[in-house]
Symmetry: C4
Subunit: 367 residues, 4 copies
Amino acid sequence: MTRDDPLTVADVARLAQARLPKELWDYVAGGSGAETTLAANRAALDEVAVLPRVLAGVAAPDPGTRLLGSASSLPLAVAPMAYQRLLHPDGELATAEAAEAAGVPFVVSTLASVTVEEVVKTGATTWFQLYWLRAPGVVEDLVARAEDAGCEALVVTVDVPVMGRRLRDVRNSFVLPDDVVAAHLTGGGDGTASRAHAREAGTSAIAAHTAAAFAPGLGWSDLEWLRDRTSLPLVLKGILDPRDAVRAAGCGVDAVVVSNHGGRQLDGAAPSIAAVPSVVAALAGQAAVYLDSGIRTGTDILRALASGADGVLVGRPVLYGLAADGAPGAGRVLSLLAEEFRDAMTLAGCADVAAVRELSTVRTVRA
Amino acid sequence: MTRDDPLTVADVARLAQARLPKELWDYVAGGSGAETTLAANRAALDEVAVLPRVLAGVAAPDPGTRLLGSASSLPLAVAPMAYQRLLHPDGELATAEAAEAAGVPFVVSTLASVTVEEVVKTGATTWFQLYWLRAPGVVEDLVARAEDAGCEALVVTVDVPVMGRRLRDVRNSFVLPDDVVAAHLTGGGDGTASRAHAREAGTSAIAAHTAAAFAPGLGWSDLEWLRDRTSLPLVLKGILDPRDAVRAAGCGVDAVVVSNHGGRQLDGAAPSIAAVPSVVAALAGQAAVYLDSGIRTGTDILRALASGADGVLVGRPVLYGLAADGAPGAGRVLSLLAEEFRDAMTLAGCADVAAVRELSTVRTVRA
Amino acid sequence: MTRDDPLTVADVARLAQARLPKELWDYVAGGSGAETTLAANRAALDEVAVLPRVLAGVAAPDPGTRLLGSASSLPLAVAPMAYQRLLHPDGELATAEAAEAAGVPFVVSTLASVTVEEVVKTGATTWFQLYWLRAPGVVEDLVARAEDAGCEALVVTVDVPVMGRRLRDVRNSFVLPDDVVAAHLTGGGDGTASRAHAREAGTSAIAAHTAAAFAPGLGWSDLEWLRDRTSLPLVLKGILDPRDAVRAAGCGVDAVVVSNHGGRQLDGAAPSIAAVPSVVAALAGQAAVYLDSGIRTGTDILRALASGADGVLVGRPVLYGLAADGAPGAGRVLSLLAEEFRDAMTLAGCADVAAVRELSTVRTVRA
Amino acid sequence: MTRDDPLTVADVARLAQARLPKELWDYVAGGSGAETTLAANRAALDEVAVLPRVLAGVAAPDPGTRLLGSASSLPLAVAPMAYQRLLHPDGELATAEAAEAAGVPFVVSTLASVTVEEVVKTGATTWFQLYWLRAPGVVEDLVARAEDAGCEALVVTVDVPVMGRRLRDVRNSFVLPDDVVAAHLTGGGDGTASRAHAREAGTSAIAAHTAAAFAPGLGWSDLEWLRDRTSLPLVLKGILDPRDAVRAAGCGVDAVVVSNHGGRQLDGAAPSIAAVPSVVAALAGQAAVYLDSGIRTGTDILRALASGADGVLVGRPVLYGLAADGAPGAGRVLSLLAEEFRDAMTLAGCADVAAVRELSTVRTVRA
Ligand SMILES: Cc1cc2nc3c(=O)[nH]c(=O)nc-3n(C[C@H](O)[C@H](O)[C@H](O)COP(=O)(O)O)c2cc1C
Ligand SMILES: Cc1cc2nc3c(=O)[nH]c(=O)nc-3n(C[C@H](O)[C@H](O)[C@H](O)COP(=O)(O)O)c2cc1C
Ligand SMILES: Cc1cc2nc3c(=O)[nH]c(=O)nc-3n(C[C@H](O)[C@H](O)[C@H](O)COP(=O)(O)O)c2cc1C
Ligand SMILES: Cc1cc2nc3c(=O)[nH]c(=O)nc-3n(C[C@H](O)[C@H](O)[C@H](O)COP(=O)(O)O)c2cc1C
């Protein structure tokens, strides 16, 4: 490692910001509305202080765990994120490769700019993230395609009935360039895909696309249909209210992701970490609980698990790595998080992930 | 919408500030004393975080509700605000027109610069806000005039026994220009109206007018008299203590507005949102509960309703719109809030206003 | 009032700061140590939000009350403050005159730069503040002198066993000028008075004087001796722990002042307002409870009383007025506070001081 | 004392910073990760407000206490800190001399740059801090050496299984100069000592050394072995979780140091002061409780003891004094803390350390 190597995700973010055109940086880093929830995600994580354990006889901690029944080298998966070729020509191939190298699952978005089949070829454990599209048959096709490609789980994102009001994108009249497309939606469908490429002043083209393409009114019966339709593990991404978590478990969901979509959907939604304890308590083990939104360090992973989560998803940091340096950049982010988490486990006296979940936390004041 | 269109109430406020002479901006935007309560209104709203619901099958949420028994397109009314011709020659006509177009009630102030009869002609659902004036017979006349004009409710403002110490106005020696008058008070009365137009250095002329014109010592018996006098729905505006809310309900009041007058009266009064839950609990449904003071976004409306309110009043934002661009400006503010609230409902999985009131909230740290 | 008249105590403070040499400003405005408690006094007051009452039929509130059995036009006394001729040649004569005009008690310090006899001549209700000096017989003499002069109460300050570490004074090598002396201590005593006039680099001469002159090891038996010695009402100034309040009441004390000496003694002591509720509860009416430290506005008086106090003492603001403009300046401060408190009572629907004490408070977030 | 003499530890820190090369300042002042815990240590101490007592008859407080059965002039020991010759040629000799002069114990680090035998010659009460090294026999040798040298206690530091991620050191490629060595580890051992002197870009050489030299996987059985091995009092340094405190007491430990290593190990660990009350409660007197991390003033010592601790360790401030002016500088820091603590005791009405522990505290808002 040389003097200029990034030592933290914050370093990587700075490199990415320096490299990206403003409108791309804004698209990735931004949140919705007044970005209250975006900021609250960090503030609430910073307030979780951990009580480390000592003399636990931990020579080398094992950060490995099982996520949805498969081994993962960390209690972490790469969050589904759309259109990654915006940030680097290799797009999802690069990030999936990094996930594969890191030994963690990669979640491929419905709106990926590289197909799930190509992603799977990287060798990464792949989960398919499902947006429920309006066009008849498309959801069923996507499920089949994910199954056929060898995905090991379906992640149904339920917090995007419409896109959040992302004002940076609106002010930038953000639009996808012609060469970055939703790779799973090119085969016809309902012809809405072009919306994401049509620049209209004072409008976010991707919000317009979402409005046109996503099915309105998704309900529990859709989830039940899907539960019947596939035998893959099902993850419900984007819940915060424990009542929804319990209902999801009742529908046979295997895991929930406590998430506010990284502060990109409802501005004013609770920080994910604040919702975790009550979701964990309400579920009482009926389904696994993952958290995302704001994870930036190994300590954050410790905080999440000590608060009761079984694992985390990491979003923007991976894209920062991708933007900074393609697959090696994304890999650097994952290895930083791995190093940091391993160090944090060691320093907290935790031999394994189960021990991390036994740590006590106190809410502390931010300085 | 073009690149420069305002996307938030904050954008509109900036446009208004750029357009208004400082003393008018100060008059509208300012609060009393050290502006502690003014700032606390925002801070307290920002701390209310919501737990959205998912998979609720909400294709298109219905933000409509009934306010005092009449349909409203939103759980929102335009707050009573005096002398709107200060901000635009069309004054209350413009804002009432905007309210009418938005399908929400408009509350016309006793101190309006346009008469209630003219306001009613815009077609807006009109409520008349009553200040209790000293001059004998004036209150009774105003009530009769409001009834005759076709107002659908009376809003009795009880937090202005005297005007709050609005230091910006005092420092500006604020005075009404000759051509902006209290349109309901021109017909003689006690001759105090001219006080608002008499510049005295180091004095707020409108505070002097209020002191001269408003009846001191308003009591519950006055409210009882009014309850007997009119069959219109009665709203008590400006309460924060649950004991007052319960007493008001006992007097036959139909609704209370939990309000600190936008931080313009008692500096040091609690932020309205902090008082809502105990007022709602104490009333137990005996009267409707509205909130004002600090509502700036659709998320704020969600916060207020999730905290137990039945609706909100919006004040300054409408004046910012009026100052920026007359009726279209005021309309833009109301349509922004409507869009934002509809989006917030969708993102929170709420099919209707009743569902919003079932949302859970957590108090979160501000970033 | 003209445009430049001060409208708040903060305005007066600015005038004073502009007029005073830095070392005098520092002496008055400063606190001890890192000034944590000085700042916390304000922060904690700002967090107390009040729930005003409405329709209470208050035509003109009566801010009058009884303090130690005598009528006062406000629930406020001027706090004892040493050496006021530092700030203006008229010193305590000016501030006492202002107190007399305002109809509130004036507390004359043991270390006053004008004698108690002269102060009493102003006509002000005068209380004598007692520091327990080492020199034999001096305390007894001071008590007799206060009684003879016509003082109506004795205020025993118990939070100055030594002077707090006031670093501004130390850095300024602060010393009293020759013409400002402790007027009650000139008649010989133990010859320590000159210490306050002896400049030593890197030392606060007044701290040196205090160390030399004040009796160490003051105890409850001293208070019992004093209780037997005088029939004047006794006030214990400078308590924060409810256990001390209860013990004081057991010794026959008539009132306690919950105080941290305006943040000038123990840095890290609790803000006074935070200690009031438990002191009030513990005393259960056995003694009156006054508060000082940080009162700057009429709303602050409301906050203190709504938190349970019977009255407040006001310190620095009176000195700011004195420095800015002698007796009229001090008078302006008191009339500002009176106006602000009367307005706050009116706006909070309180007919009298008893009603203020019935107000509810909520702890709110600072913006 | 002259005008420029430092009056607070903060003053001394500024002098040190001015004198030290940046990389040395960073090494001493810095923390791990985002320095969240480093900052939280101060923030949490600042929030502890004390309720002083009055009329306690305290002529001159006695800050003396017993630490591990021996008399100490203050409830304070100098924390173990490695390589003090980095800051001044006299290194640990100077700080031990200062401790001796102040009458407080000095803890000599395993990684001291001066040997324990030389330290003991200063006459200071010396405790030996033990890091558990990998090399066979070294721990046993160090224990014997400490016993033989006349150390009065062993302090086993348990929060450094690996070094925290101290990013400043990494960015500075921090390395020990050739003439500053771990004086106890020169006699051969496992040859890892040279690692601390080998500059590698983008690496902290001292972290590399620690990784190579420290025994991984320290467990409770090691502690039991040590308890059997020595009859010296045993202190466990670096615990935060009450469960570990109780277990340590069960192993016969005489005291625990509630510590996060001054924010240098697990970033995100709780501030020490936040953990003290529950550790004290859980131990119920079975072992003494000391606190370190963030103590900078006499008031901080008061805060720690009022929160239940029996004493504190002070780290960086002593090094700031050493860097600023050798033994006299370190002495100035200790005498400042002594003066401040004595004043704080006096101002809080505490005759002795036991009385300090009876003070009440309230959590207050920071300004
Ligand atoms: C640029 C970007 C694109 C995203 N696209 C998707 C997506 O297609 N599907 C999805 O479920 N979530 C998407 N998310 C949300 C992430 O899966 C995840 O919830 C969020 O980024 C977590 O917060 P973090 O970025 O603070 O780690 C996206 C997030 C970002 C930043
Ligand atoms: C310029 C201005 C004039 C107002 N005039 C009146 C009035 O005449 N009658 C009344 O009841 N409230 C009046 N109010 C208070 C509003 O009705 C409302 O309570 C307040 O503005 C709500 O806070 P917000 O502005 O933060 O939304 C006025 C407020 C403003 C800003
Ligand atoms: C310049 C100055 C001198 C003071 N002298 C005395 C004194 O002689 N005796 C005393 O009991 N308190 C003294 N005090 C403390 C005040 O009585 C009072 O407790 C404090 O000023 C209240 O805080 P405030 O200044 O924030 O209102 C003094 C305060 C100041 C600012
Ligand atoms: C430069 C430095 C070196 C340290 N070396 C050691 C050490 O060798 N052994 C140890 O147990 N603690 C060591 N510590 C931690 C201190 O003993 C103590 O826990 C910490 O400094 C307390 O926090 P404070 O510096 O805020 O007072 C070191 C701390 C510093 C700042």
